[in-house]
Subunit: 193 residues, 2 copies
DNA sequence: AACTACATGTAAGAGGTTACATGATTCA
DNA sequence: TGAATCATGTAACCTCTTACATGTAGTT
């Protein structure tokens, strides 16, 4: 995963290992953490493979190592981006979506639709599980256990709704919050920009 | 983590390693996966430590190994359950909530409230990041990147809403879905039980 | 007789994290 | 001049996953 996130980050800009980390943190950092202890060794391996090249750039007394993606690296990145992810985590799916801007729109539509299909299947599973839970107990000794299941269903259905909107390039503002604090994504605030 | 999930699973029932896996899969399996390759070695280590004990039970030609939690194991489990989790993942929080049924209600209220507080702080961070994103680009080349951020915010606010309801032991049915397919958590279906 | 589920493990390795070690540059 | 940030790395360790290996019990 991190391998491809690095390649995606380098796709349009050459960066140092340090900068890559900042980019990841400010980008898909919500879904994926990258520490130096994983980035630097990985950059070494990617260099050996020929997916990136390293250029030394003098900067006063020290030398920065600036990494650039190669054609091979670009191909590998695109292969990953285009691959169907088989039952992977939401996080890894979001990591791909993060780079969909560099793909044709039809492509993004297909990928998100396919993912949504699998989510709908999974939804059926969860519903069946919920049935069992609801019936098997008196709803007293299992309140918190049930609550986690409800959270899972809620999150899943939010994600399905997200797919519906994003796959057609819809207005992100319609991704409204179901309940709780509504500050933040109001129309008023959004239209200021 | 898995260590405590095993202890929590064994809290009221003695089980084989095989059964533990099934329990985890059917329980917090949505948030946490456990393979035999992690369970069996862990049970060995827990035995050495004295947190669980193993009893052999003859069953025809073979012998089942049934694991039971000890007082030490119960104390360790409770310590984990009561500990403030510092910026951990949603999954690890849900894993704790899963076992809140064996805690006094006030305790659950406190834990969920404290967690909600941290979520609200994090929400401020995300909003700031969203501002930067919204302003820094023409909303064309960054649509999908922005969409992942919106998903993060949406998920976070869903979770905050979930906290609001669950901390006071509220009706789980109010955790309605914001958009998308609404099948499943309808009042009609729920009231059948 | 064949298949599925029960049941227990191990070995190799993926894929990280944490802490450590080091030093340059920039800015107040 | 001191602190923060920039910048690069290593070593030890941890936590699992995957695949393998083996065999029993129940069911069709």
């Amino acid at each position: 995963m991190l391998e491809f996130i690095i390649l995606g980050t380098l796709y349009y800009h050459s960066l140092t290992g340090y900068d890559i980390r900042k980019c990841v943190e400010g980008g898909i950092g919500m879904f994926y953490k990258a520490s130096y202890g994983s980035i630097y060794p990985l950059l070494g391996r990617l260099s050996e493979k020929g997916a990136v090249v390293c250029t030394d750039e003098a900067q006063g007394k020290r030398t920065k190592k600036i990494y650039s993606i190669t054609d091979l690296g670009k191909r590998e990145f695109m292969t990953w981006l285009e691959a169907e992810d088989t039952g992977d985590s939401i996080e890894s799916f979001m990591a791909k979506v993060f780079f969909f801007d560099q793909l044709p729109v039809e492509f993004a539509y297909e990928k998100i639709s396919a993912y949504e299909e699998r989510l709908l299947e999974y939804q059926d599973n969860l519903m069946a599980k919920k049935e069992v839970f609801d019936k098997a107990n008196g709803k007293k000794d299992f309140y918190y256990k049930l609550s986690t299941l409800y959270f899972g269903i809620c999150k899943l259905q939010s994600l399905i709704g997200w797919c519906e909107t994003v796959k057609i390039g819809g207005d992100l503002r319609t991704l409204q919050v179901p309940f709780g604090k509504k500050e933040g994504i109001t129309d008023a605030e959004y239209s200021k920009n």
